[in-house]
Symmetry: C2
Subunit: 385 residues, 2 copies
Amino acid sequence: MLDFQFVNPTKIIFGKNSVDKLGEEVSNYGKRALLVTGQSSVKASGLYDRAVSLMKDKGIEIHDLTNIRANPLLSDCERGVEICKKNNIDVIVAVGGGSVLDTAKAISVGALDDGDLWDFFINKRTVQKALPVISVMTVAATGSEYDGISVVRNERLHKKFGLVDVHIYPKVSLLDPQLTYTVSPRYTAYGALDIISHVLESYIDGQDSPLLQARFVEGLITTVMESVETVLENPEDYEARAYLMWASSLACCDLFAVGTGGGTIAAHMVECEIGALYDTPHGAGLSVILPAVMRYRLEKYLPTTARFAEKIMKVERKWHMSDTDIAIEGIEAFRKWLKKVGNPITLKELGVKKEDLENIAERIASNDYSPDKETALGILNTYYE
Amino acid sequence: MLDFQFVNPTKIIFGKNSVDKLGEEVSNYGKRALLVTGQSSVKASGLYDRAVSLMKDKGIEIHDLTNIRANPLLSDCERGVEICKKNNIDVIVAVGGGSVLDTAKAISVGALDDGDLWDFFINKRTVQKALPVISVMTVAATGSEYDGISVVRNERLHKKFGLVDVHIYPKVSLLDPQLTYTVSPRYTAYGALDIISHVLESYIDGQDSPLLQARFVEGLITTVMESVETVLENPEDYEARAYLMWASSLACCDLFAVGTGGGTIAAHMVECEIGALYDTPHGAGLSVILPAVMRYRLEKYLPTTARFAEKIMKVERKWHMSDTDIAIEGIEAFRKWLKKVGNPITLKELGVKKEDLENIAERIASNDYSPDKETALGILNTYYE
């Protein structure tokens, strides 16, 4: 097990109608709130009105930032920063999915800073302070509700980058699995991929593979896979929705990656460029890229990929099978499962053009922590069609 | 999965020589430290001198409270409170095992209070503030380094109670598995029991049994059991010591109990009275009482005990076996393992007198959250000899 540091100061309030505590929790942090929300669904479901009313009951003054979309835009963050500065906002409330919360986190940094917000995403400057953020999460996917990460798309540069900093953990996250009942089958499955990818990358290609953490990951992924199937049958199965939601929070907060030295996060880095160019859903991109990374790098990560096959995909090791056979069967079983729950498994399905691969690979290689161009191209070609 | 709240603000610094960060971390919280330590071992190992020198290098003024022993005494806490008040202590540093840290936590509360410290242990008053505590943990057992719990023995009343409060989480815990190399085989095995008991009680007899958490617990206990065996063979196996240490932290912090509604903690409540009367090591008492609780309450918790047998004790379910058969075989396999690693498995071995059982049961029944007298007596008699 490698050395590590771990701290996660977010308070989780989990369960049925936990959102009812919103007014009380927000009022602990001030009187003027910026309420960040997404597109229409949060209004259609009545959640927007419920949040507003809970806060108004506590005398909170509310300023709105709406229409945040998937692959959130830097320009929306800048818009939020302006509102904060103009109205002396005390606390930022994110009601929605990962993009809404990532936007809120970026705003929380920009609101107390006078420079260029993008600086923090390209490691030009480090965060010194941020406004408090409180989240009401409506999907089980990113885990943004329990981490100190904000991923934002700079539409001027066509770049999607992540800011990682201890100041941007939400102070409180209100998690009610019932709010995810209306997430469509497609997005439920995308979300599951996001959850799985957050733990699978360090499981497969961490610098070290401590067994304690590996077992946690195996329990988590197994439960996520079962729960997705349950939810596709019955979208209002509370227990399965609860597993997905809590697994989402645990997956991204590094708790099960500590001691591994972290994975190469190659799948995330490759997906980021595809998402930045094609605006594809993060989970959909990962569904193609994660198995592609595992397959392309099989020889390098053979023991962990073989263990994945046996412990998670439950591939039975027959006497004549080598580790490589087992591992390949595991990856194929994984892709079969992805297809079964409605995820794309080729780049072509995702709408990526063959002639763009070279360009995408070049863009990937130009980033820090990313695979080089040859590797990127290899990964992109693995499951192109 | 039941509703829950979870927050754990402690910063973990884990790994080889993490103790070297002590001076730096302490200096973030002030200039005058109370250094709480146990009996001779921390001096013999050189750790005491190392800690002092690291703090002195940062200009920290150090006041000592030494000779804290297992089943820590309220009177020692009161002694520490006095030193704090007299010397305007800013921060309390605990270097040692769970008793040292539990003492430090209790002192951190008393140092900022003018009433009777025991009040907080009997829920007469609730904690409003506490001095910061920083821990260097030298055993893998209690998990005190990653929780907001302090268990102290009031020697005047012969009572051992726990205080649970968010203010007493350590600010920072420095965990170096190498510091546990010198823990004796006997105490390594006691520690393992302590770790296992912290997750097993809510696994077996929680109000609910969410599968996600159950799988985490199964991974944790399996790894702890394997690691104890490794360490008994080779006390300096870093990986196994690291698993035990990190498992210890995770086990007690409630992370794998959330959503279960918590266990009945009957084993802990029964052991507390035995420890208070006979001054037996906590892990040794649990080694007898935990299986006794499982066996005595078998019918009530049959499905979870049967799952424990299959998933953790790897009992093979033969076609003719009922859940009861499986569960009993699992408990017996557990006791066999306990004996193998050197733990006591009867109260008689522990030195408990048969004629005291009635009295112990009465004392157990007089506490909150405890089994009634008949149940307590039933548990005590299950594996008396």
